[in-house]
Every structure is written in C-alpha cells, then in structure tokens.
C-alpha cells in the first residue's frame, strides 16, 4: 500500500504569462514517518513528438515527512524556450509532476497545458518565430491525470521487481482524445465539470 497519498494539487497563478514560474500547491498525506525524503519533479514536455524535448524544470527534496498531512508549494521556473521546438511552442502540451521515493516513481500527475496568444491578432496570424512574451500559459487544472505506480516502500535490498502498473486506460485510449479516457469517465451528467476551461 502506498504510504503517501496525494490529496490535492492546486495550480496557483493560472493562467499566467508564459515566462512566469510554475506554482503547484501540493497536499499529501503520509501514513507513517518516512525515513527518507520525497523527491518531486516538474517536467515540462516540450514536444509531443519526442521525450528529447522534456525539460525537468526543477527537482526538490521534501522532508522530513512525519506521519500526517502536509502541504508545500513547488515553484519552478518557466521552461527554457531555447529547448522547445518552435513548431510546438503554441498549442497543447503537458506538464508532469512526479514524485519518487527511494528513487522509485510512485505517482505521476499530468496536466494539459495550453499556450496561446492573448492577442486575437496574433492568434489569427501567429508569427513564424514564437513570441514567448505574448504567450499565455493555461494549465487545465480541473483535469489532472493521475497515475500511481506500486513501489517498494520498505527499501530493502531486494527491490520489488518493476511491478509498474501501466494505466489500463493507455491501452484503449489510442483513438480517443485525452479527456475521454473511459477509466476516468465521470458519471453521467457531469461532463461540464470535467470540460476544458481554457477556451
């Protein structure tokens, strides 16, 4: 059983200009005192095409973590624009928050991020070279995608074999747009709550 449960992630300062730092207020609960720190990372996916363009915006250790409910704000600088393919600057991408314990990732929280020009003029005729100063970043805070992995919390020498549980939805989601993953389907009649608010 996972010793750490993420209870909530609040996306602060959203939407915001592209150059603003990312701010996530993370609330988590821990079942028992953790002898080691948790390591949190924010990864910005620069391009959907390849993981090459992933940028680890920052990584922090969080600790000590006694049993109980805790919160902290994880702030990380905006991505290095130089590392983002120009064709992928505008549009939808993903930012990931991962947490690892003893080097094992046990939770991955993903958000869709929409980068858009606020100026209608620019929106209609986007410049060839993206103008990052005019871009607005909008994180789809209402629809986090959480994947949990089973890890060995005890940290004994014999590590649990990589019993990673791939989110079953990924197997069937090939043809569906991201928010329509059956597993994460909201009950009937609640579509609005789950819809995009970056329009």
């Amino acid at each position: 059983m996972a010793k750490v449960q993420v209870l909530n992630v609040a996306v602060l300062d959203n939407p915001s200009p592209f150059g603003n730092p990312f701010q996530f207020e993370i609330t988590f609960e821990c079942m028992e005192d953790l002898p080691e720190d948790l390591e949190w990372k924010i990864i910005y996916v620069g391009s959907a095409e390849s993981e090459e363009y992933d940028q680890v915006l920052d990584s922090v250790l969080v600790g000590p973590v006694p049993a109980g409910r805790h919160m902290f704000v994880f702030q990380a600088d905006a991505p290095n624009t130089g590392l983002i393919p120009e064709s992928d600057a505008v549009g939808v991408t993903v930012v990931l928050i991962t947490c690892t314990y003893r080097g094992q990732e046990f939770i991955r929280i993903g958000y869709y991020v929409n980068n858009e020009y606020t100026d209608p003029e620019l929106r209609e005729n986007p410049p060839l070279k993206p103008d990052y100063t005019q871009l607005q970043r909008n994180i789809l805070a209402s629809n986090p995608r959480v994947t949990r992995f089973h890890i060995n919390w005890e940290g004994l020498a014999d590590k649990m074999e990589d019993s990673e549980n791939v989110d079953p939805s990924s197997n069937i989601s090939g043809m569906l747009p991201p928010s329509c993953i059956p597993e994460k389907m909201p009950p009937l009649g609640l579509i609005a709550d789950n819809s995009m608010d970056f329009m």
Partner: protein, 1015 residues
C-alpha cells in the same frame, strides 16, 4: 420474496468476491478486483431498499471506495459493533478500516473527477503475517479477535483490541484455507481448506478440536472460496463444498460429537458459500389457531458454482426457494441483514443481487432475549450473553492468585492507556490540527513565503513541508475540517448528503416496482450509449481549443509512462536555465568529498604500512618468500622500516584513553598460512615509549618509557603509573613490549619474555613469569591476567589466589581452519578468556570443562533466522553490554533475515529461534555473564510462553525451583552465576502467567515459591 439486481453496484464489471452488510443495515461493503489493484467499496443501502432513493440524485449510492489493497480483495467483513471493516486480499494483507469522522466528502485526487467519497474510511491497521493470499476474514463474537485464513495454509488470530498484535497462528491444514466461521458461542472457530478437511479449533488453547475429512475426500480444489457458516444457535456447522455419492453438497456438522449425518443436496456444482441467517425463527402464529409450541429453526442460504442460490429452513426437508441463473458466474459471497429478512449475494460476474423475504416466508424471528435463552439452555453461561466487557476468553481463571495477577495486569494496562484512551479507540489514527488557530486559507496564502527551504549538502533544494495535521492515535479532529475544506470539491454538498444518508438509511421495505426485476442489461446499454455521447461532446470541446489531436495522443502516453528522464535528471537539469546554484554547489561538495577521500586513503595507507611493519616483525626470522603478499609487502617493509621508530616516537606521551596500538595492529595481521607447523600469533613491536589508561574508575594511567638509562651495560625501562593523581614508578631490566591493567592489577610483558604483575599501587604481586614465546596479547580484568603468546597458547592466572586458571592451552583446536586468525581477545571480569577469530566465531576457554567452547558465530544461520523480536522486553533497557554482546556485535543481527525468510515454515523458524536462544543461554552461562544470562533467560521464557512449549517451560521452572525439601543427596545449586535461581523463577513466573493456558503451571510454582518463602 422480492429480488433485485442493483446494476449500479459494480466494480466496473470486474469480479466482486465478497459482500457484507453493515450491522446497522444502512450500508454494505463489497470487495473485489479494481482497475490495477484490489478494491473495497462501501455502498448506501437506501437506494437498494427504496426506488425513490435510487432515483433521487441527492442520495449517494457509493459512499467510499478504497483502492489501497495492491491486489484483489477476497473478503470484506464488518466488525460486530460496526466500527470497523476488515478486508483481506491477494496482497497477503488484512486491512482494518475505520470511518474518519468529521471529514466531509472528498474526491480521490485525480480520479473520475467529482465522484466523491461521501464517507471517509481509512485504513487504521495493516495486519501482515500471511505469506499468501488472504481468502477469508472473520470477527469473533464481540470483536475480541479477528481471524484470517490464507493460501499459506494458516489461520491467524489477531487481537482485535490491540491491533496488530497476533494472538496465535493455527497450523495444521495442509492445503489452501478458504473459509472461516466463528462459533456464535465463542468456543470454537472452524476452517475449511483445500486439503479435504474441515477443522474445528478451540479458542481456549487454540488447539484442534476436530478434524472432519470424510465428506470432503472426493472434493477437488475447484472453488475460489469455501465460506462455511455456523448456525446462530451454535448447534450446526455447515460446510461449503462437500461430496456425497459424487454429488456436491453442503455438509451439516453437528456440534454434538461433530457428527456428519446430514447435508444440503441439490446443487449441480460445488458449493462456494453457506451463510446462516443471524436470526432464529419460529413458526408464524396464525390468527385464530391455537398457539402450538413449535421448535425454533434456523435459515440458511447456499450459493454454488452452478450460479444458483438456495435458501433452506432447518424445519423443512426441501429448500424454501431455489433461484437459478441469477448470475452469469459463480456465486462468491452472501450476507444477511441483521433483521434476517434481507440478503445480498455477489458473484464473480461482478454483479450483486438483493433478496427480500417476508415474515410469512421465513417465520417469526426470535428476539435477542429469546435467542439468549436458547443459548443459556444449551450452553449454560455463554459468551453470547455476557456483556461486551467480558473477559478476553472463555477460560475460567482457576485460582485467586492468578486472578489477582490478571487483574493487576489489566489495571496496569489501563494505566498505560492513559486518560481517554480506551481499547481500540486509541489505536485509530487521528489527525490533530497543528495550526495554532490559523485558518488554512491564511496558511495557503503565505505558504510559498513561509515554507522552509534549505539546501542539502549536495546543493539540492529541500523543502520542509508544512504539517497541517498530524497523524495520531485517536480520532480525527473536527477543528481542522470545519474551517476550510482542503479539497476544492463542494463541501456544502457534504452536509446535505450526510443528512440525506442518515434520514434515509433506516432499513425498510423494498418497493413493489422492483419485484423480480433483473434490470441490468438495459441499464448497461443505456449507460453505454450515454458514455458514447459523452465522448462526442468531449472531443468537440477539445477540438475547439486545440486543433492538434495527433500530438495529443502522443502526449497522452506521458501521463502513464514512467519518464525515461528520471534517471538522467542531472543532465536535464544542467541544460535548464535558471539553475545555476545547483550547478556550482555540487562541485564544491564533490571536491570536498575528494579531499576527504584522499585523506582517508593516506591514513589507510599508513595503517597498511604499520601492518606491514608488524608482519615483518612477526615473521622476521623467516625468509621473505614466505610472506603472503609477496613483493609489494617487501617493498613496503623497506620503506616502512626506517619509519618505525619515528612512528613509535610520535605517539604523544600523555594521551588518555589510547588503546595500546600494538593490540589494534595485532587484530589486523592475519595468521601465518596453514602449512606452517608452529602456530604463531603476531606480536606487538617494541616502542620507545607509550602510555595507556587502564581503568576509568579509579582512573589509572600507565606510562612506559623504554631504555631510559643504561646502568652497568644493561638498559633499564621505566614503568610509571598514576592512580587518582598519585604516582608510582618502577624499573624493569628489559624493554616493555606491552602492558595492560585493571583497577586491581597491572601487568607488563617485556622483550625478554618475562611477565611482571603489580598491584595498582605498584607492589609486585608475582615473581616474574617466564613465558615460552613472546607475548601476542595481554589482558587484565579484575584480578585476572591473561596472556596470549605468539606460540598460540593461552594462560590465565588468578592473581589473588596465585593460581593458574588456564595453563598454556593451545589455540590449535580452534585455529584449525585454513585462514583463521585471532581477531579479538578479551578477558571477562570473571576471568573467562574469550578469543574471537577472523572467521566470525568466538570461543571461550571454560576452565571447569577444561575445553574450548563456542559462544558466538556471526555466520551461524540460527542467528540469522531466529526471530524473537516479539519476546524482547519492552520496558527493559536493551541488552546490557556484556562479553556475549561484545563478541556478537552490538547490533546483533538476529532476526534480520527473519522477515525475509517469512516463507520458511513457522515450525522451522520456531525451532531455529529456540535453538538460538538456548545457545545464548549456554554461552552466557559459560562466560559467567550473569546479567546477560538473566536477560536471555527472560526472553527464552517469553518465547516458550508465546510458542506454548509446556515441556520446556516446566523443565525450566523445575530447574530454577530446585528441590523443595533439603536433602543431602541433591546436587542442585541454589544460585547460578551469583543469581539466586528462585529469584529468577520469581521473574519468570509473571511471564508464564500472561498465557492463561499455563495457569496451572503458574499456580503450581507460585505456590511452591510461597511455601519456600514461608519456611
């Protein structure tokens, strides 16, 4: 009878293995397979019972879902008081859940958005002991115990008042144990397993009462579960899968003599589950007819792999009702409401059915009083009628002494529990607000500014999270959650919902419109249609904002795949802008580390050289080719030699607490290779001067200065000693090689192989002793002197008595191995010499047995496997430091492997632990280490009590008590190692008294001790 299949009770189509209705009838739990884990779900009963509630959107259906189990949940069971829910699963765990009061609804973060958990149930204990899938769990009457059974062939009884304490583990099944049931009277627990047997165990001593095999001999292990059941009057036990004339049956076992004469016949496939109605019924009295006294009867539901369900009354020869084709797959579990009129059935096909009976069909349920009267008539005073404050077991305490002891124990336990902490309440977690009245909203506003951020040694950012609530033992504090909900989901909804829940929850009649209605297929398809519709809406929504669907697909996989970037973070970081501090810092740290390393290297280098020097000295007479390390060592020797004197001289004179360097080095030098006939141990080198502190209390310093003056051609050495500030000195005709001392005696060994012994005041106590070979190690302790010579012989003298305890004993016996060398030697306060060898073994020479005895072996598998942690005294200080502890290492790694070897059969581990503890006792005895002997004796006794080895316990008591009447012929010694044996017995007895099973033993010896005391 009315029948309903609530289609909304589902685990998304995954199998439901277990169902249990809460004792208050307002909710029920299901357990089974989740998406990628096991799943426990708690459902509202009201929508099952009433159609208007089912339709009312404000009445929640699902109350809580818990996916903490790592693998499929096989069983969920409410405790009788309704406070706890126990679940057992394929992840080998039993989890105990408790409702967290005062927390409003919350979503599981990131799960299907607004599907709120209306009630918060959280895991308060995880019970780990099973080494295989847990198949069934059962609470004993009055929730004294929780039993769980597993495919590891065992049944574990947990102390439900003190989780996670284990009461016992029932062993005896040779196959997967798949079902459990408690006797309603509390005297027995029955289990059924794949080993073709049903076993009944007594709760008094947890021994097997009956082993019923005949009806099961033809059975194959074809069912997932074998949930058997005990009738509410306690008279009958009904098994799951049994065979009679190659037909599947449910075997009825009579309590009286465990006879197996009757069975329920008719199912076409194996019976998976039997569940008795909790009520006892009597015939419905018709108006007008004369009230005939009729025999009360029980009602029993039987579910089978053939997908059908039958309900029987023990007063009828044929089933009351049989329902075929209720499910698509095997029935897995059945649960009755406490009223006895409703029943939930679940199936492997992932659906649940609710059956509602009328009083006309089943009869008049007896009231609890009437039921108790029946129990009383049959069993006399039964546990079922004693109050909940009843004693933990039905064992009658037989004597006042024991009663007194038990009461004392209870009192002290209560005192320990402290005010307000009573029983299970105190073991539940609690979130205590730690916010000092500050509202959460305020905290959140300033969190970024306020939170403590530091840099670790390697330059990484480290945030100390703000603790907003501590997990504590107790219940959830309302203070925290009244103020501001942490979760964004509407808290206003919560109170509404809970109100709804409580008002609607009274179990009532099923609405008529649900009569015999199996609604699942249409509902499903309708739902599907809607889902499709949803998809459409969603995608269009998305399309408006982002015109790129293709990359989205690619992006999507990122949510679920563990990033490859994880291991290569550093690279990623360095390429990221704005992280300069990170870049520079590690370098500093690295260089610092490097410095440290080089320092370490040089120091170890010099030590190597020292060792080489030593080796050189030890084997000085032999040819260099004989040296093990060949050229390199020789080279070092050449370098080292000129440095020898320098090193020696550089040792500061007044240096307190310096262990003689000679001794340290001796331990590093390995023994000569085996083929050499004469064993030789390394000898310390002669130094110009050295000093050492031989005793702390009183503080005694010893200083040696060699060749201080030359008188008439012979060089004199000076020995100076300061004791509590008073000095004395003496001169010796030869250079002092090594010295040792205790508070009583001082001993020095000289180059001419003479050993001189002085009192602490400088008086020579013994004439110079001529040793055959140079001294390798010299120790003093109390009034004993121990000498280990280079010729590998050992001598110990008692200076007071002027007697030899050990006389030139050869180490040949223990140094027989190829590469063994002496790595440690010491002398205990009692004058017992102990030799530690490089192969991890330690020996002491027992002067009474005149032989070498093994006292510790670090590589001993017994040490590795022994698991006596549960027997360690809690209040006592950890192992008192004694010679045994020193030789075995402080952090005795006993039991370290124990957890990993959990697959080892218990009896094996038990034997290993026993053997280990007995070794410890014997070793402590040989070492004459009284404190350690007492320490291990108590652990040993506690272990025997836990494991129930009465024979050994009795023998131990007998030995400690000795003969009650004095007679000349007895050889019994009243003391051991200066400890009075009867005092030890007095310490051991309370340990024995903790297990009621040994109360006779306790009483017997308690009485005899009293008798002896009065004498």
């Amino acid at each position: 009878m009315k029948l309903l299949k609530p289609s909304w009770v589902s685990h998304n189509g995954k199998p439901i293995f277990s169902v249990d209705i809460h004792p208050d009838g307002t909710k029920f739990a299901t357990g089974g397979q989740g998406e990628d884990s096991g799943k426990v779900m708690i459902w509202n009963m009201a929508p099952v019972l009433r159609e208007e509630d089912e339709k009312n959107e404000n009445v929640p259906k699902m109350l809580c879902q818990m996916d903490n189990h790592l693998a499929c949940v096989n069983c969920v069971r409410w405790s009788n008081n309704g406070l706890y829910l126990a679940s057992g699963g394929d992840d080998k765990l039993v989890m105990v859940w408790k409702r967290a009061a005062f927390i409003g609804p919350s979503t599981v973060f990131g799960s299907s958005s607004k599907l709120a958990n209306v009630e918060q149930w959280r895991c308060v204990t995880i019970l780990r002991n099973h080494t295989g899938d847990v198949m069934d769990v059962a609470w004993s009457p009055h929730d004294v115990w929780l039993a769980s059974c597993s495919v590891d062939n065992t049944i574990v009884i947990w102390n439900a008042r003190k989780f996670p304490e284990m009461v016992t583990c029932l062993r005896g099944h040779t196959g997967l144990v798949k079902g459990l049931t408690w006797d309603p009277v509390g005297k027995y627990i029955a289990s059924q397993a794949d080993d073709h047997s049903l076993k009944v165990w007594r709760t008094v001593d947890w021994q097997m009462e009956a082993n019923i095999t005949k009806p099961f001999s033809e059975c194959g292990g074809t069912t997932h579960v074998l949930r058997l059941s005990w009738s509410p009057d306690g008279q009958y036990l009904v098994s799951a899968h049994a065979m009679n004339n190659s037909g599947p049956t449910a075997q009825i076992v009579e309590r009286d003599g465990w006879k197996t004469n009757m069975d329920f016949v008719g199912h076409r496939k194996a019976v998976t589950v039997v569940k008795f109605n909790p009520k006892i019924f009597k015939k419905k009295q018709k108006n007008g007819s004369s009230p005939k006294p009729s025999c009360p009867y029980c009602c029993c539901a039987v579910g089978s792999k053939d997908r059908s369900l039958s309900v029987w009354l023990t007063s009828l020869k044929r089933p009351l009702v049989v329902i075929h084709d209720l499910f698509d797959k095997s029935i897995m579990d059945i649960s009755w409401t406490l009223t006895g009129l409703g029943m939930l059935v679940c199936s492997m096909d992932g659906t649940v059915a609710y059956l509602d009976f009328s009083l006309d069909e089943l009869g008049d349920p007896l009231s609890e009083d009437e039921k108790n009267t029946i129990h009383q008539n049959i069993y006399g005073k039964s546990l079922a009628i004693t109050s909940t404050e009843a004693q933990l077991s039905t064992t009658i305490i037989e004597n006042p002494e024991m009663l007194k002891y038990q009461q004392e124990r209870q009192n002290s336990a209560q005192a320990n529990a402290g005010p307000g902490g009573a029983g299970p309440e105190s073991s539940a977690p609690k979130l205590n607000s730690v916010m000092n009245g500050e509202s959460l909203e305020d905290i959140r506003k300033n969190l970024l500014k306020k939170q403590v951020e530091t840099r670790t040694a390697d330059g990484r950012r480290r945030i100390t999270p703000l603790c907003i609530a501590q997990l504590d033992t107790g219940d959830f504090s309302p203070a925290l959650f009244n103020s501001v909900p942490i979760l964004p989901s509407g808290s206003s909804m919560s109170s509404q919902l809970t109100n709804q829940l409580s008002s609607d929850s009274s179990p009532g009649q099923l609405r008529p419109s649900h009569d015999a209605m199996l609604t699942s297929p249409p509902a499903n398809s309708a739902a599907k249609g809607l889902e499709d519709n949803n998809d459409g809406v969603k995608s269009s929504l998305l399309l408006t904002s982002a015109s790129k669907i293709e990359p989205m697909k690619a992006l999507d996989s990122r949510f679920t795949e563990r990033s490859k970037a994880t291991p290569g973070v550093t690279a990623a970081i360095s390429s990221t802008a704005g992280l300069t501090p990170l870049d520079s810092r590690p370098k500093d740290a690295l260089s610092a580390l490097k410095d440290a390393k080089t320092k370490e290297e040089t120091s170890s280098d010099s030590e190597d050289k020292m060792a080489a020097i030593n080796k050189n000295l030890a084997f000085g007479k032999r040819k260099p080719e004989l040296l093990l390390d060949g050229g390199e060592v020789v080279e070092k020797r050449k370098k080292g030699r000129p440095r020898k004197d320098k090193v020696a001289a550089s040792i500061p004179q007044p240096f307190p607490q310096v262990t003689p360097p000679a001794e340290r080095e001796a331990s590093r030098v390995s023994a000569p290779p085996a083929p050499i006939a004469v064993l030789k141990l390394p000898t310390p080198s002669t130094k110009k001067a050295f000093s050492l502190q031989v005793s702390m209390e009183p503080s005694v310093f010893l200083e040696v200065e060699n060749e201080v003056s030359v008188v008439a051609g012979s060089k004199l050495s000076q020995l100076r000693c300061s004791r509590d500030g008073r000095d004395w000195n003496t001169l010796l005709p030869s250079s002092v090689v090594t010295a040792a001392g205790s508070s009583d005696v001082l001993a020095v060994a000289c180059e001419d192989r003479m050993l001189s012994v002085f009192s602490s005041c400088g008086r020579r106590l013994l004439p110079s002793i001529q040793l055959s070979t140079p001294v390798s190690a010299l120790h003093c302790s109390a009034h004993f002197v121990m000498v280990l010579t280079a010729g590998a012989t050992l001598s110990v003298w008692d200076v007071h008595k002027q007697k030899a305890l050990v006389k030139n004993e050869s180490l040949l016996t223990i140094l027989s191995g190829a590469d063994t060398s002496v790595s440690q030697s010491l002398l205990t306060q009692q004058g017992v010499p102990v030799i530690g060898l490089s192969n991890g073994k330690s020996y002491c020479f027992s002067s009474s047995l005149e032989t070498w005895t093994l006292i510790a072996d670090k590589g001993d598998s017994l040490v590795q496997c022994a698991d006596f942690r549960s027997c360690l005294p809690t209040h006592d200080a950890p192992v008192s430091s004694g010679p045994l502890a020193v030789m075995q290492g402080r952090n005795l790694n006993a039991g370290r492997l124990a957890s990993r070897l959990s697959s080892t059969p218990h009896h094996l581990q038990q034997s290993m632990t026993l053997a280990f503890l007995e070794n410890q006792l014997a070793s402590a005895l040989t070492l004459q280490s009284a404190q350690e002997y007492r320490y291990w004796l108590l652990i040993y006794a506690r272990f025997l009590v836990n494991e129930g080895s009465e024979y050994r316990l009795r023998e131990l008591c007998k030995e400690l008590l000795g003969p009650v009447h004095k007679s000349a012929a007895t050889s019994w010694e009243p003391t051991t190692l200066g400890l009075r044996k009867r005092e030890l017995l007095r310490e051991v007895l309370p340990v024995i008294g903790e297990n009621l099973r040994f109360q006779r033993l306790f009483t017997e010896y308690q009485d005899q001790l009293e008798l002896l005391r009065n004498k």
